[in-house]
């Protein structure tokens, strides 16, 4: 299904290990199928997304498909490309920023690095070649921390270029679309709930969608359920099949839980949930991503 997003900037966030990068790719492919030109930004090196497309990603920007470009960057890249070139502070400053004093400053003022990366993203927003900029946010203990960086910085830096960047970036976040990726497990769901609550409380924002990833489905539909019951009645008495039915029942329990979580997030937190299937595959490649992209 084509997914319609009005905002140019899209953030994809969530905890580590929930398949955030694959969902980010699938979302980009979905938009690309609609003819939208996308820039996918990955904030962690080495790139895991490039590998899905069998790319080496030696250059910072590489073309994944006709409509999707990938940029893998970290703080050092943003610093070189954004701070030094775009806010033009001259070559002497270059020396200064490699100095240990600057390193101490970065450590003592957490968030400055992230702010510079976000500032760099702001710069890409002005690029007319792209309809959408998708940012795969790094997995942190708290998925919200990246989005709260400008607020945090403004508390102790009250003037100068860093302050200006913080203001710009805070605005940028307010006008973005935020997608949260999670999995149907209790801890992950309770963290999702916390994320939604804090996003509202701290930033007055709402996630555009919650992607419930890795949902196991039963191998039969509602209509076939009656047939399955008959099969179970006939075969479960044979020991050869007992563990197979245990397996199916295992999935059934997981599926019931999934429905419970879905219901909880929808009714209690008024969220728009999209369930994504568990994909059985040894390796993630273009084909698997396409499958995932159509289930969006």
């Amino acid at each position: 299904m084509p997914i319609n997003i009005k905002e140019k900037l899209i953030f994809i966030t969530g905890k580590g290990g929930v398949g955030k990068s694959t969902v980010a790719c699938a979302l980009a492919l979905n938009l690309a199928h609609q003819g939208k030109k996308c820039l996918l930004i990955e904030l962690e090196k080495p790139s895991s997304i490039a590998a899905f497309f069998n790319k080496k990603n030696k250059e910072i920007t590489s073309q994944l498909t006709d409509h999707v470009d990938l940029k893998t960057m970290d703080y050092a890249d943003s610093f070189k490309e954004y701070v030094l070139k775009k806010i033009k502070i001259g070559f002497l400053y270059h020396l200064a920023f490699e100095n240990r004093a600057w390193q101490v400053f970065l450590q003592a003022c957490p968030g400055v690095k992230e702010l510079i990366v976000l500032g760099h993203i702001w710069y890409f927003l002005k690029d007319e070649n792209y309809d959408h900029i998708l940012v795969d946010l790094p997995a942190t203990g708290h998925s919200l921390s990246y989005l709260k960086v400008p607020q945090h910085i403004k508390k102790f830096i009250t003037m100068g270029p860093l302050f200006e960047i913080a203001c710009k970036v805070a605005d940028m976040i307010q006008n973005s679309s935020i997608f949260y990726v999670t999995i149907p497990e209790k801890m992950a769901i309770s963290e999702t709930r916390d994320f939604i609550l804090h996003l509202k409380q701290d930033l007055a924002l709402k996630p555009r969608n919650i992607f419930l990833n890795q949902c196991l489905k039963l191998p039969f539909n509602e209509k076939e359920k009656i047939i399955f019951d008959k099969i179970e009645k006939t075969l479960s008495t044979y020991p050869e099949f007992s563990s197979v039915f245990k397996g199916i029942n295992y999935i059934k329990v997981l599926k019931d839980k999934l429905e419970e979580y879905h219901e909880h997030l929808t009714s209690r937190h008024k969220c728009d949930i999209v369930e994504l299937p568990f994909i059985f595959s040894d390796k993630w490649g273009h084909e698997e991503l396409d499958t995932l992209s159509t289930s969006l």
Binding site: K15, A96, R100, Q107, H152, D194
Partner: protein, 372 residues
Amino acid sequence: MKNFLESSIENKKILISCGSGGVGKTTLSASLACYAAEKGKKTIVLTIDPARRLAQALGFEKFSNKIQKIELKKGELYAAMLDTKQVFNELIQTCSPSATITKQILSNPIYQHVSDGLTGIHEYMACAKLYEFYSKNEYDLIILDTPPMKKAFEFLEAPERISAFFDTNIFHWFLKPYFRAGQMGLKFMFKGSSLALKVIEHFSGLEVLRSLHDFFLNFEGMYDAFTERATSIYKTLRSPNTGFLLITTPQPHRYLEAATFYKILKQKKMPFEGFIFNQVFPQWITSKVSIPHFIAEHNLTLFKDERASEVLGKMLDYIADLDKLAYKEKIAVKLLNEELGMTTTPILVPKLTEEVDDIEGLFKLHQYLFKQ
């Protein structure tokens, strides 16, 4: 035969559970603590976890920073959820030469950020509290559930990072001369460092630099006490009374990380106990049956209906897919063990359908953790 966990609980005074976020570290730590308490050890489980998940696992909605006694049928079990910031405040109080300096540090905006957002600070404070409990010698066993990290081995790198940050040399090299020069006029100072600071000043305002300066100035007097503390903490981590457990899951990105963790641990000569693989996919197909044969042999009329055969086919394919996943995980665990030349057999805990969110659930886990 005992598995490594049983021996660890018997022989160690400190067990540190490491692992990246989402692997079930907190739940397993709590389960181990229940086991140890039941075996007659006075046990405390410590967690510095902003998500406060242990509370959930132990059936408490809200936890205070105080030590809580957990009611068990048998044994003595305590739990404490520690607020990193509070631990840091206490540490400053202990190391500080005067009440005025303590007050100045605690109200400094840089301190506010450092105590919250400096990389490795949560890990460091977890160890500081662990050390405090250990030196009081009130418990037979302390289990530390480490803070959630992006990568498990960050825990092992935290001490160096924190020490490097508090290294007051930085203060002597950069900040002190800068502010002195500021009074005399900066034009006489145009060397690298003061230039760097000039840039920072331009970039974010003098205010931040002044806070930095004040922070390090105040910290100077307590640096020795602080370092001494750090040395004792790391001695404890390397002591034969301590053991590290690594909790992971059998997914590729996780077990590669587990391997790195193990290598770093060995390099640092820290005592490793073994791996626990959590959320392992169960295997379902136990015998290979030829379906057409089976149907003919048992004269199963149900499958004369094409739709029934179709559903059965889909079902078996699906289970086979699940089993492929389970098989892959098993191989991954085996390869990791071989590659690292491990002598202990890793413990596998299956992915369960029921959620562990109460004491009973924690006890149920013992069948996987201990009786393999």
